[in-house]
């Protein structure tokens, strides 16, 4: 039986409008606050390049936008660039899906890729998304999520 690729799925509910959650997910001014100082640099259109760039300008991950339907869905081809063993696994695929549910947004992240990358993002996504939720609901991200730990 063929082995399917490792997958990480995470669902969170955020009390905000879908436009606000989309903005916070895609705009650098927001992501820097809750995504450890990182920004996603992209034109956010189908085929556009996409990169995760650190505060020092270094590119940590790169790829392209495979599908996009703002503010509901984006699919990203995501290849890690910094660590050799993660880069060697090749492109992963990350889907961000936003759905209004009452006065919340159900945000679903589905990330499919090699085992080492999926292990790494399984630790990172819950932190990043919890901090995004805190930022949108309280005005402040979680403590110590504004920059990479030293």
């Amino acid at each position: 039986m063929p082995q399917s690729k490792p997958e990480f799925v995470y669902v969170t509910y955020i009390r905000a409008t879908i436009d606000k959650v989309w903005e916070a997910l895609t705009k650098p001014d927001f992501t820097r606050q809750y995504w450890f100082g990182f920004e996603q640099r992209s034109g956010w259109t189908k085929g556009a390049s996409w990169q995760i760039v650190g505060q020092d300008g270094k590119i940590w991950d790169s790829g392209e936008i495979l599908e996009i339907d703002p503010p509901r869905r984006v699919v990203i081809s995501w290849t890690h660039q910094m660590k050799d063993e993660l880069r060697a696994e090749g492109a992963s695929r990350a889907t961000y899906e936003l759905e209004p549910v009452g006065d919340t947004v159900k945000l679903t992240i589905v990330h499919v890729g090699g085992p080492k990358l999926i292990e790494a993002v399984s630790g990172g996504w819950p932190q990043v998304l919890a901090s995004l939720k805190s930022l949108l609901e309280t005005g402040r991200p979680l403590e110590r999520t504004g920059e990479l730990p030293k």
Partner: protein, 153 residues
Amino acid sequence: MSKPEFVYVIYIQSTPQKVWDALLDPEMTKEFWGRYRNRSDWHVGSDWRHENYDDAAEVAVAGKVIESAPPHHLVLTWSRPADTENPDKVSRVRFTIEEFMGSVKLTVTHSELDEEMLRGISAGWPPILSSLKSLLETGASLPMTRRNWKKAR
């Protein structure tokens, strides 16, 4: 083949004691757990029940307390009340509450599930735990989790 397991990690700007209390305090659980409460004396070996806050006779989940180490570890067995004696239908829930980088890391590990149970709880835990986070951080839970699911139909 081992049974599937569901693991959910959420970070909450709070303290371990406040997260522990929220999981056990009926006045709080009714706000984020669909107007249900968790009733037990929380001693190892004791029974626990997940019952309707407004009607104690309506019990949705029942089991026993396996481990209790406030405020960091709580392990419960979990089944429909009619299934407590059927090992195939009894699952296990572990709550791990840790300090992490200035906030609280809450890990819910729901194990020993069959495929049908896995589907149900995979849909249930994220809104409940998201709502717990909102309650502790903003003072208000997510409105859709304040209503009894059954009455909502």
